[in-house]
Point group: D2
């Protein structure tokens, strides 16, 4: 259940409602939007008994949330989308921020070079893997802490925010010292301890959709993070597993309008992993923007043939990325956005 407050509700009103809820053993989660504050009630609602919540001062109405995800549901914020500000960039607003960079951080030179190139082309964040989840144990697993420091240098040089993956609860603290946003990969969408741990961190989380996760399961994974107190979750569609073998994954752009209908959380799209083929990335990025994506994740590498992860095949060349950024502008405008 959520309690929507009046626009003129005072802090005292809200505190009183929260106190009342907690007095019967329920948990209250307060979410402050531009238009009104929403108080989520978590637990067995029958405990509220006959308490006349709707007639308390400052309360406009109460609403049941029927979806299994509560805090992630659109109703929870009274239809107001979540906007997250990271390193000076808004995610979820009119602007469509772009997160670009190589699959893995390979050297300071590599990451700084790419950071400069993508910044020049208009990206707001540099991405690059320090800890890499790999299908087999003998593949390159990332340079770890060394790579985090290289990302820091790239940030120092360019001012770009950092996005990098965290793979296990006990590295959340370490990765959090460097990154501006945590990335949780497709293989960790159901790593529930990790979800909870980033839920207790103070940084935004990009939550990639599991390879075969339904949208409902994905929003429930987001709910794990939200329910620990971290409201800044950004969903990322990165392709699902289907029978089709021509593309590496099947980028499911339907997820963009579906998420916008079901949730207040922003959703970004990763056409690089979604297709796995460089020549398809630009068209699918344009389609992502047209579908309503709130941001983009793109692999860019200045020397993809020598990439250490084998993901070079899906990386854009810097000049392609630059052209793409220009071509996206009129599409963004056509759907009421900017890039």
């Amino acid at each position: 259940m959520v309690i929507v407050t009046k626009t003129d509700a005072t802090q005292a009103d809200i505190d009183a409602v929260v106190k009342r809820i907690e007095s019967v053993g329920l948990q209250a989660q307060v979410s402050t939007g531009e238009r009104h504050t929403v108080i989520g009630v978590i637990g067995d609602k029958t405990l509220l008994g006959d308490i006349p919540i709707e007639s308390m001062s400052g309360v406009e109405r109460t609403m049941a949330i029927t979806a299994p995800f509560k805090l992630a549901s659109r109703e929870f914020r009274g239809d107001e989308p979540t906007v997250i500000v990271v390193n000076g960039t808004k995610i979820g607003g009119r602007q469509i921020p772009v997160i670009a960079g190589p699959c893995a951080v390979e050297s300071t030179e590599q990451i700084v070079t790419i950071a400069r190139l993508v910044q020049k082309a208009g990206a707001s964040f540099i991405r690059g893997g320090a800890f890499k989840p790999r299908t087999g144990p003998y593949s390159f697993q990332g340079y770890g802490k060394k790579a985090l420091k290289m990302l820091q240098e790239a940030k120092d040089e360019t001012g770009l925010g950092i996005v990098t993956e965290v793979m296990t609860p006990h590295e959340v603290e370490l990765v959090g010292e460097y990154t501006d946003m945590f990335q949780l990969g497709t293989r960790n969408m159901t790593n529930f301890y990790l979800l909870r741990e980033v839920g207790r961190a103070q940084k935004p989380v990009i939550l990639k959709r599991g390879m075969s996760a339904t949208i409902e399961e994905w929003l429930l994974a987001a709910e794990y993070i939200l329910s620990e107190g971290n409201p800044d979750v950004i969903l990322c569609e990165r392709g699902i597993r289907t029978f089709e073998t021509h593309t590496r994954n099947t980028l499911d752009l339907n997820a963009v309008p579906v998420v916008h209908e079901l949730s207040h959380l922003p959703i970004v799209v990763d056409p690089s992993h979604g297709t796995g083929i460089r020549s398809l990335v630009c068209d699918m990025t344009k389609a992502s923007v047209a579908a309503g994506a709130d941001g983009l994740l793109l692999e860019v590498h200045h020397d993809p043939d020598h990439s250490m992860t084998g993901d070079g095949a899906q990386s854009l060349f810097p000049e392609q990325f630059e052209t793409l950024m220009q071509e996206l502008k009129p599409i963004a405008v056509a759907v009421g956005r900017e890039i």
Copy 2:
């Protein structure tokens, strides 16, 4: 193998090459493009032995086609896309034609009303099922020939071209008397006798992707039609079957750039069946255009709640369709097209 002719090759040159090919028991298929004529050689190439095809008059070069689909492959037309003209409208060119209408033809009044509305909004074709493939035998199966006549009335009133489905070889002739383009539905993509029969007809064919067909299988189905002599095949992406249950199908927009890479055939997109949910159709139509779709199939119904097929849930209201058509214009321009 294909033989690409010089731009100044004469008809006599071409005839001589064809004759030479047929003289060793192979089949030749001639495709005339704007830039050059391409002669496809079908059958066991070793029969050509030492015949010096490349030194014959008018021949520029020969090329092996490694894809299992030959006539459908991009190489077959020397990288020149196929443009099909139907009822005065070009498909596969700069313009993005729109095919709109109800799932099923329900009455003359219904189809004429909708035809007028979609024409006003900018559609070039009216669609509507006369023969309906239905999952179960007790569902409404379409009004058949009566419905074809209603479509004719809609065409007479508006000048719109007709697109309607044909379900079995022996109805190709009947449906062909009325329709401007045959539609082959997702459930008939592997109805090989039907593919061959429309391959022998003189009208363009919209070939919907099978629900779980790979793109290669789909192009091989097109090859059935092409190999019978009908060069006018238009592919239609309409959503594939995946594990996701929130949407009726998973519209696979990746298929658009993939088909453009592999084939010279135009590809149109059907976001109505691809999502199955009205509120998602507009965003996914925009995404289709941005991804490079050569045309659109959209369900529009002025009274979807009383639709006879239960597909009302995915039909746009006429006013939504009208707005959408306007909103698509700048996106089309952004990708070098017009709508």
Copy 3:
């Protein structure tokens, strides 16, 4: 709705009920089992109004069928499984008949040789394609009528029943002159005109599951056949399409107990297509019997490396088939059956 009659209901009782149903414009379908006769009522049940069917002579009870498939539902025959007798062999009873043979009929010698081998090993039917559905137009499409005659010779030599595929409505008559059971392939499960046409034929039909058909859709396809008056439908699980690429298809044995729960129709299993790999066929055949399969379809070829369809890779050698037949016996006994 179905009307279950008493065990001592007379033909006159049944005729009276049918007449009553038809008098209000509904359709009655009579199914005679060993225990009782069941009368299916097709159409809008409200037309029955207050007619006291349950108090008519010979009527035991009426039952609503909530499944979308009616004649195919378990309830329709009062929980009594359908047993079909073909060429002296019962399908759906205690005995598990085996249908064996090559993918395609390649010559009289080939089919007669294989027929003798599989008969010796215990098969009851010889299978072999005369009309072959192939993914591409340039693959071997079967010898057609000539192959039907070769099958006839194999039958004349061995007494084995014939099972062969029919691909299009207008060949049902021709194929029906030779075959004992029609086979409808996975690519034709939604070829609704073909379903109806074999529904009007007087021979049993093996209906293969569509590559991505849900069990409900499959039973609805069976319903098309049943609703035309042919009660002898045998379902065949032959592998579904999934993300797994190691096997050609994913044999879904869960379908066996599910079909037994939902329907009275027999279900046979085809582990050859279901796996696509010879070395897996024996284990999966054993699993099929243990899961409750009512019959088996197996590809057997005495010279699979020279098979004309490329399906040799999944064909058992005759000696493997012979050994397998022996190994299946104790498993059949363990689940209360015989082979």
Copy 4:
């Protein structure tokens, strides 16, 4: 590459080979089978240069392993299957051990009651979740350490071995104090830190297949565990995600013979999760044994309607389990096994 030693190779021979391998900077992993010892060489084989390994004392032959999984590949153990002994029970041998119990440990009384019942019926291990991975954060997450102690009581009472899930690296030590085998759930198959951590533990690991993992990816996940030095990995097929909605998952029994072909590791089957429906479990368990399963995981609950996890719908009643165990015996014998 693997080095297969002669049956009469001495420890000194083996040590010498290992030393030689390590001297060029490669890693050697020794696996001792009944017939011969196999030495796996991990790393860049070109480092071996011209070293004449094959002529060293005790060496029979060397073999390249082309599969991406090395230690998990069948060749690695010279075609000899791995047999693991846990709590006195062999897994991977002639005997088919059964692991049975409730989804979650709910109370001492519950787990001891069920342990006694399943032991009486012939199970060798009691299973029950202490730490439960749940799709949403508001579902019952297991009683944790308390539940581990309850499992210990059940073991003390019955002598059954314990199987319980571990969800995160830092709980491996705790869970390892109680369990006889670790279970890694389908949602953690790509939790690579967890794989490595159990790879460093001294207890066998049951590795469930990821919901949409290919068999190759699954074996690569096993390789993570093996490569850390733990040779005792048992694979568990538990159903994959497909388009079919009637069953909770699609139990993929093809995986059983495929794994036996590709790997030396034992594979057990979990028909309870694989189907999600009680009435299907018995048939699919029989099919699992017939397909060659090396063991079974079955949910059994004496009061499934009051199960705390909602998985009651797939739990067998104790009497069903008892009957099933009897019915499995002749099937096991038919495939050369015992239960």
